[in-house]
Symmetry: C2
Subunit: 291 residues, 2 copies
């Protein structure tokens, strides 16, 4: 039995079980670190009492995270505008509390791990389009980090003419990808989420064009076999085919092995039954369970 | 003794020696594949007669290349507008001619390998800014490929206001990065290469801003520890500090472990004594020399 935590900015989804399914899950609203982690620990203790002990904990967390293994603050949350969370060492807290190995990575990296496992590809990019836009990578069954972890929500994008002079919502960059195509950006620009806008509203094409720029950039720089698009904004089913179309149109035939069919078979919604971040957190826990 | 070939669109640089230095090199103008490869083979035979036999050949080649090891055309040049070169199987030709193992990768991937070795980093992006713009990656001492190889010269960029309505020179995308900031793009937009333009000419800032968008995108998506900028356009020494500045300004503090100092220490010109593509081709040859 393993424990998994998908630590998000608005909620923590916790579970015990393994990557094939949870025995028990609980969703805990994100508040300050002390209250939130106390609730997480209480759930894990109760779940273990009911279903049996877990041997490791995996965490897929909002970022930025310090994932430099040589750093004294490895595993902690780095500078973040989220009040109270900067410097929080979730693995340290849980390890001390439960005495089992704890592994942590970004929410999008572990989601990439889960989707790569399900689809059997060696290299996968997982994109979440919601309150923010995040991208994680899995390669050969492991999550990818480098000098820091990916923050591909903040790439520059070419402005869509129908977006007029909309300034964008990113506090760092204004009109970067996240500032133009995240859930809050869509609401700020058009007064509604996509859900509330008719199919012929320009917001659909504008959003798909920006997400197409992201997919184009990922294909040209990181060469994934599959791009999975998750998050609240992608829950609008009309969006996926528009993003595929925008990506293919922008690449205009210059895309190596990405044939016409590839855009349909390789740009997809998540396949996981449970949230991919939770499934990935179990997979991450499994990597340290034998230590 | 190893043999190395840096196969470029205008010239082939060939050498025998190893990654610490060539014993003998020759530059052969690129024409049709038959004439070009016949000259390459003649040089290698002569060089071996004079300096001793080589045990493997490494090739860093212009692309696109088929680098899918499961493909029947692995190692061949894929669809290219370069007359006669599509389908050319350089490794096959040289293996048949010399009876030694031959390895091939993109020119920019092997250059990344060479620079990563020299600077001792685990993850490096090598950018060439010349006739085209290409990006290669090395990770943990190996070149990186995925579903195809990187083609990051073709990422979308945000137009610089001083570029007016310049359409860009990329036959596929018009105003992608390569269409706006490659050598031919600079000449087409301003009538001169950077070399011929005064320091206060807008071309400097325009070019640096586009290359800054590339560095920003690479940092946010591929997390290199070091970005090496090579190629003819970067030979203008004034450009490097402008690119560093543009990258840092655009990221605006949102860049994980990239502190202010990092932009100077981690964005650099090539350090290799010989062309990094040639050095990398020796390193690639070494990986198959024992087979």
């Amino acid at each position: 039995m393993l424990a998994a935590i998908e630590a998000g900015g608005t909620k923590f989804v916790c579970g015990i079980g393994d990557a094939t399914g949870s025995r028990l899950t609980r969703t805990i609203p994100t508040r300050d670190p002390d209250s939130t982690l106390a609730d997480v620990a209480r759930f894990l203790a109760e779940a273990a009492a009911e279903h049996g002990a877990f041997t490791a904990i995996g965490i897929g967390s909002f970022g930025p995270l310090d994932l430099d293994r040589t750093s004294p603050t490895y595993g902690s949350i780095a500078a973040t505008p989220k009040p109270g969370w900067a410097g929080t060492d979730m693995p340290g807290f849980l390890k001390a509390r439960f005495g089992v190995p704890v592994a942590i990575d970004t929410d999008v990296n572990v989601a990439a791990l889960a989707e790569a496992r399900l689809s059997g590809v060696r290299r996968l990019a997982y994109v979440t389009v919601g309150t923010g836009i995040g991208v994680g990578f899995a390669r050969n069954g492991e999550t990818e980090t480098g000098f820091g972890h990916a923050e591909a929500g903040h790439i520059p994008v070419r402005r869509h003419a129908d977006h007029g002079i909309f300034a964008g919502t990113c506090p760092f960059h204004g009109d970067c990808l996240e500032g133009m195509a995240s859930g809050p950006a869509i609401k700020a620009a058009w007064g509604h989420s996509l859900e509330g806008l008719p199919p012929d509203h320009p917001a659909w094409d504008v959003t798909a064009t920006y997400l197409g720029q992201l997919c184009r950039t990922l294909i040209l720089t990181t060469m994934p076999e599959r791009i999975v698009l998750g998050g609240g904004v992608m829950a609008q089913e009309r969006l996926l085919p528009l993003v595929r179309e925008a990506t293919e149109k922008q690449l205009n035939g210059y895309c190596g092995p990405w044939t016409h069919e590839a855009f349909t078979t390789r740009i997809h919604l998540p396949q996981s039954q449970e949230p991919p971040g939770l499934v990935g957190a179990y997979l991450l826990a499994a990597t340290v369970a034998d230590q």
